[in-house]
Amino acid sequence: MKARAEGRLLVALPFDVTAKLARLNWGFVLLVCLLAAVGYAALYSVDGGSPKPYAEAQAVRFAAGLVLMLGLALVDIRLIARLAWPAYGAALLLLAAVARFGHVGKGAERWIDVAGIALQPSELMKVALVLALAAWFRRASWERVGSPLFLIVPALAIAAPVALILKEPNLGTAVITLAIGGAMLLAAGVRLWLFALAIAPLPLVARIAYSHLHGYQKQRILTFLHPERDPLGAGYNIIQSKIALGSGGMWGQGYLHGTQGHLGFLPEKQTDFIFTTIGEEWGFVGALAVVALLLLIIVAAMLIALRCRHQFGRLLAFGVAVDFSLYVFVNLAMVMGVIPVGGVPLPLVSYGGSALIAVMGGFGLLLSVDVHRDVVFPRDLEDG
């Protein structure tokens, strides 16, 4: 494919649509639809064998997300690269705005209303951070990345949103955002000794931080370590989740036959704890199949990153894949009682609009990378 002048992009677009649709990674789209179908089935069961209220609403949102994803897939990746920093700036402004105008939702999570849709700016921020870092590193050679001065801007770009999210306060999302930023730096070629230097003092920092935690925060950590300490409070979800998963056994209770008596206890059964319904009704075998599907999506996203021929696309696809996998890890680990309860949904399966739109938007960028994997960026590798 020949490189076009960016000014002609919008004029050229209609003639490209057929060609672009042909290049679209339909296999990936299929995987995404399959995962959404799993979510629909699980919500249908949570609803007690009815599409209302959750399953139907979620299907409508998914349809909107699908349009967003396919629309983004057709946008020229070079235009996306040019919009990366403005997107980052906008997300950062939104994040700062919740600090002032956002209202407190469940617990400490902060939301902001944009045109009637409750948005969680921290979800948008993760995608925007990936975009911004990909844009920063896209021209940089291996030698250039080795210069510590070159890393000042990306370090600040990571630190600013992390600090704002910490202030919300939302420790879990702050750590995830930090992890995404770290993964991006790793993929961009930041030297490994720098990571070693950053990670080495962590145990000490953790110790000092623990001594500065509020009483209730310490309590939450202790409750996680011994959920039985507080069976009515934070330990409650973990215990109930384990009971529900355990009662599923190897083959499950059967679809729509989960003991609603248990799940009636789970206040987040349609959102964060949706996986327990799957585990209870479909058993270990069914739950494992869902885990396998999630792994397939992660692998497919990584393959898109690996076969892209420009650095911006590689890093963008990689970031989206890491973002998605972190959602999955944190949610599954939480449901299985491996990490403290954190309020992270299982993407595309849990009920909820904000995360769904953020994930589908990310996948749209990912598909755009794949469609435009062979384009040539102007002034690439012009650092020096």
Binding site: A183, P231, Q240, T259, V299, Q311, R314, V338, D380
Partner: protein
């Protein structure tokens, strides 16, 4: 091109490493899933499809409150009650209909049950009916198959064996309010109570304990098949008080019928041995709910039975303030033990006359005589010589008009005024104010507990502070020995002069407390000070008319009667303060009560009995 290959190569290697890591994490999570679902899952595996696991919470047993000898002041009694577990009842209304054929439920009770069910998680038992009889319980058990969701529970209710006698110190518990439950969800369990006043409130955290839980396998009707796991919770800790139940009950008996309070302290460490306030109320009533008529009666009673007068009631100390003024003057060198003033029965300050209680006057008096006979004129002079700032500083140190480090939720601060305080309120401080403060009148306001603390501090010279708890769950609290309390740094000669004066009050025929001297058989002497504090000004016209006598006044306008005392004089062990509101003369109304309390405390004390062997008649 070489540079592109280089960075693409680095990206590929690192992305593959990350992918390997992601796969590994999902692998580990799958292993964990296998452990939760299959390996450990067997523990939860249910036998039949209808069977399910229910988590049931157990309310912890509330800790008891004991007196120093282990006598139970607040305990628990088993009570039968019916609970409803909403998740096990298919139709709550039908269950309740059938239930009310055995135990009638009125519309209010049903509304409350419905509200509790709506507010709580569905597995939390909700109280249906409390205090069931044996007969009712048996009929409910027999009807159990037709009452899904109803369970009989042996619970605990709070009992106060001595009723009103300890109501103010020990306090009472009441069912939690929605605000309490929002703060601590464990309080939603039936039978949970929250301390509202007194020790019950101050030691709430220790008394409450932690809820336990049982995991049960239940069938579709909600009947328990077996117990899977149990966590007994942590029962609340017993709190042992410094109170002496016998002494407290004696104090309550002696104060019966009066609006009065009495405090007895161990002068050496501030342990509260008795802290009585009358009239009192039955604290057990709050557990089951107080009727509106009862509440109204308490609130409108002029003798304020709900108020703990010992810690919250404030009174002008009257002449009981004089030892503090004397100590301030002696310590500052404003007077010496030999300084004398002449008392003609009044004291002229500018164009205003301040009277002595003795119309003819006391003649020439020194501090010893002034304390012994409670000469007002001597203390008008003394107060002006030493100045209000130094009087306030000394009496604050002695525990008057300041917040004490007390282990009870409520106490009044009282007031010993300073010129700065008066000016801050927009008035000038005049010398007349100092003179009036010198005899414990005017702006001075103290609580009986502060008076007792003040007596203990004057008696021992140490900054002892009153406390009612001795140990919690066997853990001894600090403050139980004299060396826990620092010395007050008051010159020994000043203390001695005041001790001698206070001993003369009770042990010399001219003293105002001669009538309440201890029986010689005890072998020890008591020191004390009377006080009679006006609650309203006596006009000069009334004085000149001569016929004035306060016992003819309406009750509300009669002076308050006070008496403070400590014993033995030489090695002080017990300190007491008695205040009888509108009791007229301190020597008549308050002193005999204080004497009886001191006698009882001494005769219950093995060390005193040893000190005076063979003096028993």
């Amino acid at each position: 091109m070489r540079r592109e290959t280089r960075r693409a190569g680095v990206f590929t290697r690192r992305a593959l490493a990350v992918l390997a890591g992601q796969t590994a994490v999902l692998g580990l999570l799958s292993a964990r899933l296998y452990q939760v679902q299959v390996t450990e899952g067997r523990r939860y595996a249910t036998r039949a499809r209808q069977n399910s696991i229910s988590l049931r919470m157990i309310a912890p047993v509330r800790g008891r409150i004991l007196d120093r000898g282990g006598v139970v002041l607040a305990g628990n009694k088993q009570a039968w009650r019916a609970l409803l577990i909403a998740e096990q009842s298919h139709d709550i209304d039908r269950t309740l209909d059938r239930f009310s054929r055995i135990v009638p439920l009125d519309a209010r009770a049903r509304a409350r049950i419905r509200r509790d069910v709506a507010q709580n998680r569905r597995f939390i038992p909700v109280l249906v009916a409390d205090f069931l009889t044996w007969d009712q319980m048996a009929r409910i058990e027999a009807a159990a198959p037709r009452l899904p969701g109803i369970v009989i529970d042996v619970g605990q209710t709070r009992v106060y064996p001595f009723g009103p006698d300890f109501a103010h110190v020990v306090g009472y518990v009441a069912p939690p309010t929605p605000a309490d439950v929002a703060r601590d969800p464990a309080l939603a369990l039936p039978g949970m109570r929250v301390g509202r006043t007194g020790v019950e409130r101050f030691r709430e955290r220790d008394l409450q304990g932690q809820a336990g839980s049982v995991q049960l396998e239940v069938d579709a009707a909600g009947r328990v098949i077996r117990e899977l796991a149990r966590d007994g919770g942590v029962p609340g800790a017993d709190v042992t008080l410094t109170l002496d139940a016998g002494l407290q009950r004696l104090a309550m008996r002696r104060l019966a019928g009066l609006s009065a309070s009495a405090v007895v302290l161990d002068a050496r460490d501030g342990a509260v041995l008795a802290m009585a306030s009358t009239p009192s109320f039955d604290p057990g009533l709050f557990d089951t709910g107080v009727s509106e008529a009862q509440w109204k009666a308490w609130i409108t009673d002029p003798m304020a039975p709900l108020i703990d007068k010992a810690a919250v009631g404030v009174y002008a100390p009257g002449s009981t303030f004089k030892p503090g003024v004397a100590l301030a003057a002696l310590s500052a060198g404003a007077i010496t033990p030999t300084t004398t003033f002449f008392c003609p029965g009044y004291f002229q300050l500018g164009n205003r006359k301040f009277y002595c209680w003795k119309r003819g006057g006391h003649g020439t008096v020194d501090v010893h005589t002034a304390l012994q006979q409670s000469c007002d004129v001597f203390f008008y002079h003394t107060a002006l010589q030493v100045g209000m700032d130094r009087i306030a500083a000394m009496t604050h140190r002695l525990g008057l008009g300041v917040r004490l480090p007390l282990d009870l939720p409520l106490q009044a601060r009282g007031l010993v005024p300073t010129p700065a305080w008066r000016r801050a309120h927009g008035h000038p401080w005049v010398l007349g104010d100092t003179a009036l403060a010198g005899i414990g009148q005017g702006f001075v306001q103290v609580t009986p507990l502060q008076l007792a603390t003040y007596v203990a501090r004057v008696a021992t010279g140490r900054a002892v502070a009153p406390h009612v708890a001795a140990s919690i769950g066997g853990r001894v609290l600090p403050g139980g020995v004299a060396s826990d309390w620092p010395l007050l740094d008051i010159p020994q000669p000043a203390l001695k002069a005041v001790h001698d004066g206070l001993a003369a009050v009770v042990n010399t025929p001219l003293g105002t407390g001669w009538t309440v001297r201890l029986p010689p058989a005890l072998g020890v002497r008591m020191a004390g000070k009377t006080g009679t504090a006006q609650v309203t000004g006596v006009s000069q016209a009334e004085r000149l008319a001569g016929g004035f006598h306060s016992s003819q006044l309406p009750w509300k306008l009669r002076p308050n009667a006070l008496f403070i005392a400590f014993a033995p004089v030489t090695a002080p062990r017990y300190a007491t303060a008695v205040v009888v509101a509108h009791g007229n003369e301190g020597a008549e109304a308050a002193a005999p009560i204080a004497r009886d309390l001191i006698v009882a405390a001494l005769s219950r004390d093995p060390t005193v009995a040893q000190a005076a062997p063979g003096t028993k008649s």
